[in-house]
Amino acid sequence: MIQVIELTKAYGSTRAVSELTFDVNPGQVTGFLGHNGAGKSTTMRMILGLHKPTSGKALINGVLKRDLRNPMREVGAMLDAAEVQGGRSAFDHLHALAYAGGIERRRVAQVLEQVGLAGAARKRISGFSHGMRQRLGIAAVLLGDPGVIILDEPVNGLDPDGIRWLRKLLRSLAAEGRTVLLSSHLMTEMSLTADRLVIIERGRLIEDTTVAELLARFRSDVLVRSPHADRLTQVLQAAGATVRPAEGELLVTGLSASAIGDLAYANGCAVHELAPRHASLEEAFIEITQ
């Protein structure tokens, strides 16, 4: 697991990350959300011991990154898939990384197979597409078979097939009991992959919640179309609902669709359409980060 405790990073007088506290638990995918520049990458780099916090700390499996006995077997990270030297072959690149963690050569071929790059193993990375580099980055993460996985914007540059593949992979890694933290600025993508959401804005934590809870909280209403709109409005308002008329329809909040249907029936109002609506996570994200 990952524990971020009162983590702060200041550059001069600006605070990139400010007293951030959250846990990332094993067995689930945790989405780390924020607009570009919100402090996601800085936080991830501090967790990985690459950046020194101004104050506070981040622990991986209960200790600082620097105190992990065999870092490569405990934590795997992809910060930016473009950060590789293009002159090497994919195999050599992974082999060099594997060596550093005392990981056998056989594992390199395994992970290349796993990410679908077995055919390109001997090709220079400089000729790789963005999506292939992304897969190579994932391969490097998997090398040490780590229990904690940290990915910074892993979806960028992947084609729809790649996105689906990555989503499945991350879900299965989490299902195996691993801790998976991935950042994104795309809320919709997160809602399909993540179980929990940690949302930050300007370096501060603004939400630490589940996808389901967030969806339930934000602007869910019921769209009602009725030829007896005026009478139905009075009935619903009397029952405590808020009703907004919109182009021959009513947008009702404060009552469930079934309660609205029952009230309409009891009061002799015909209903032509009755549809619960959820705000998209994207809308929720924009709303809470404003």
Partner: protein, 250 residues
């Protein structure tokens, strides 16, 4: 730590630039051959009295050490440039291990390559000189030590390049500094009063290598002093580079 060294060894030999530098080192052999040829011609036309060829190493030593410095620079600067340094750092326990491992690898490679190169240059020079009495035999005093010391100088030069690149984190900056710093003392020597000029001029890796071998009139420090100075360069630079990579955010 052995694992990290193995990793760095694979990184160095899977880098194309390593082979480019090795190939350009052959130019030193050519340079030595050409200057041996020119000195031999002078001898044929004017008879004895000119400078001898000797081992032939001094004619290309500056180029050789600068090129080994470049080898050291390229062993790390590409990682800073591409950002791969982060990928490397999260896989090891302490940042300084990366520098020490890289230093060990480039020093070993440079020592071996420098040694091979020195023998190649020596035999090329002697082949060009032929029977003329201006060459050097390996049994001459300081001749074999001079050839052997080239490997030491190459290792020091490579570590110097590596550490400068780590401190500067820029390929261009490090290359410029290698070209400027390594022969630097010899350039400012002439602006200084005695005995400072001699001391300063004796501080280049080229000069220290020759002093280490006991080549006559090669500098102010003598073999032991030169050895200490070369070791001092390596230790100080590695300490600075290790401190830099530990303290800075990657």
């Amino acid at each position: 730590m052995i694992d990290v060294v193995a990793s760095e060894w694979l990184k160095l030999r899977s880098l194309r630039s390593t082979y480019y530098v090795m190939a350009s080192l052959l130019s030193a052999v050519v340079l030595t051959g050409l200057s041996a040829f020119s000195i031999s011609r002078y001898y044929d036309l004017n008879g004895p009295g000119g400078a001898p060829v000797g081992t032939g190493l001094s004619t290309s030593a500056d180029v050789v050490f600068v090129l080994f410095g470049v080898l050291g620079v390229l062993a790390v600067s590409g990682e800073f440039q591409s950002g791969m340094i982060r990928l490397s750092l999260i896989r090891i326990r302490r940042p300084w291990m990366l520098i020490v491992a890289k230093a060990a690898v480039v020093a070993a490679v440079a020592a071996v390559a420098g040694q091979v190169l020195a023998f190649a240059a020596y035999f090329t020079a002697q082949a060009v000189v032929g029977a003329r009495p201006i060459g050097a035999s390996l049994s001459d005093p300081a001749a074999l030590p001079e050839v052997l010391a080239t490997g030491v100088g190459a290792a020091v030069a490579a570590v110097t390049g590596l550490c400068l690149a780590t401190l500067l984190r820029s390929t261009a900056g490090a290359l410029i500094s290698v070209v400027a710093v390594m022969p630097g003392p010899a350039m400012i020597e002439r602006f200084l009063p005695a005995p400072w000029n001699d001391w300063t001029g004796s501080l280049t890796i080229t000069s220290l290598t020759r002093q280490l071998a006991g080549v006559p009139d090669s500098g102010a420090f003598g073999a032991a002093g030169a050895g200490a100075a070369l070791l001092g360069y390596v230790v100080i630079l590695i300490l600075l580079a290790a401190a830099a990579i530990t303290r800075r955010d990657a």
